[in-house]
């Protein structure tokens, strides 16, 4: 049985890491700040996967993003998915050569399906994480938003999700724009939008504010991984404590011994 996963998502914007609340971005600090204050490499031993997204709304600089990705992931020995503005095979290749193992695709899922299938044939389906941003309408229906949550797609979210799921993707990353950064817990209604026969792993995102929220997500049979991008709630010792409390409450997260490093590699 494969273990469920705890994922941390970092949001990058032109050299800065950001906190997002309902898709409004707030600057937190740059890479040096993140390392100095939070020793990010050490934190990575408390997660099962890292996602780094370039959420820059204005001009993206892919080469700078890749430099940051390289620096950030030095000393991180977990799977890393990266994305934001992937528009070509070359964009994806650059990320994969800068520490990423998987590519996160969002807008292209809906507006450039041929790119998604070429990415899949180039790197394999398992390499493609389909990130879908979803928001409630006033009437309580769900809709999919693209281009950093600025453009709403016509039609119900469930049919878009179903279309994406049938395509050449490896995993679904369902992000609630309504819960994003609120710390109110995941929106489990999003899971009802996925057809029950879906065979792609599902990552839940948007709204986790504490370990209980993560545990609730992991307890849902339809969920394979839970993600949080809440820098302030989980950075520092937050993720370590959240992981420990999940494991001691019986969640079967993978185990490794951080002491191995000191015991076996200490002489380095």
């Amino acid at each position: 049985m494969v273990h469920k996963r705890l994922i941390f998502t970092l949001l990058y914007d032109q050299g800065q890491f950001m906190l997002s609340r309902n898709f409004r971005l707030q600057k937190v600090g740059d890479l040096a700040w993140l390392q100095t204050h939070y020793n990010f490499s050490k934190i990575s031993y408390s997660i099962d996967e890292l996602i780094v997204l370039d959420v820059s709304r204005t001009q993206r600089s892919p080469s700078k993003f890749c430099e940051s990705l390289k620096a950030l992931t030095e000393g991180c020995f977990v799977p890393i998915a990266a994305g934001g503005g992937v528009r070509s095979i070359e964009d994806a290749n650059r990320l994969l050569r800068s520490g990423a193992d998987k590519i996160v695709v969002n807008t292209a899922l809906f507006q450039n399906e041929s790119l998604v299938s070429s990415l899949a044939s180039e790197f394999g389906q398992q390499c493609i994480v389909a990130a879908i941003d979803i928001k409630h309408t006033a009437k309580g229906e769900f809709q999919v938003w693209v281009e950093s949550g600025s453009v709403c797609l016509e039609g119900p979210a469930a049919s878009w999700i179903s279309k994406v799921t049938r395509g050449s993707i490896g995993e679904l990353y369902l992000n609630s724009m309504d819960r994003d950064g609120t710390g109110q817990g995941y929106d489990f209604q999003l899971l009802d939008l996925i057809a029950s026969e879906t065979s792609k792993p599902v990552i839940m995102a948007g709204g986790a504010g504490n370990a209980k929220h993560l545990a609730a997500g992991l307890a849902d049979k339809r969920v394979d991984a839970v993600a949080t991008a809440h820098l302030f709630n989980f950075i520092g010792d937050g993720l370590k404590q959240a992981r420990q409390s999940l494991i001691s409450s019986g969640v079967e997260l993978p185990l490794w011994d951080v002491q191995f490093l000191e015991q076996h590699l200490g002489a380095e």
Partner: protein, 207 residues
């Protein structure tokens, strides 16, 4: 103890940076090469890989890297294949049509079937428990079972293989790691498996 200089084979389809990152962290100074002559002369070889078996084999063949690897292995050079890099060592693959592999692991690579995985999802993504064969070199220092990170839709079955066969179960038991003579391979990503994987790579460097 002097560590070998590991040559990481670059055929355009690996998560090269992550592999280098882990090797460097362990105090090794790896070389990246796409040059068959350099590969043939390597002190130790690491064949990474993410992507399609068919495409990867076609590239190895076109560039002559396939023969360089086989030449090095026949001289006794230690080889570690990781993920697709392990699958390429197999007899043949069926991803995107039949294609012969390097033939160092005498079983085929095929996709997980629905019958095998049951209600579980394909690809097999995430940390899963590996049942470690007795007396391996790669897993020295780890318990009998340890968690490693997998991401794959294709697998090699462990039946009929000789050598040290470590396995994992995803509906069906499949080959998680292989060790025979100077041929080493892991279906999982040691460079992505936290300290469990670092220890394995450290063991490879210490061979």
């Amino acid at each position: 103890m002097a560590k070998p200089v590991v040559t990481v084979v670059d055929y355009g389809m690996g998560n090269i940076w992550s592999v280098l990152n882990a090797l460097r962290y362990l105090g090794s100074a790896p070389i990246v090469s796409a040059n068959p002559d350099e590969i043939a002369r390597a002190e130790a070889l690491l064949l990474p890989g993410v992507g399609s078996f068919h495409k990867a084999m076609a590239t190895l063949h076109r560039t002559g890297i396939d023969q360089a690897i086989l030449g090095a292995v026949s001289k006794g050079t230690n080889l570690l294949g990781v993920c697709l890099g392990m699958q390429l060592l197999a007899n043949h693959g069926s991803e995107d049509g039949y294609k012969p592999g390097l033939g160092l692991i005498p079983n085929p690579v095929d996709m997980f079937t629905m019958q095998e995985v049951g209600s579980q999802k394909i690809p097999h993504v995430g940390f899963n428990r590996v049942r470690i064969a007795p007396d391996t070199s790669l897993f020295k220092g780890l318990p009998d079972a340890a968690d490693f990170y997998f991401v794959h839709s294709y697998r090699i079955l462990s039946g009929r293989l000789s050598g040290k066969i470590s396995t994992c179960v995803y509906g069906i038991e499949f080959l998680a790691a292989y060790e025979k003579d100077n041929i080493y391979a892991t279906q999982f990503h040691p460079e992505k498996s936290q300290t469990n994987g670092l220890l394995l790579l450290q063991n490879f460097l210490a061979l």
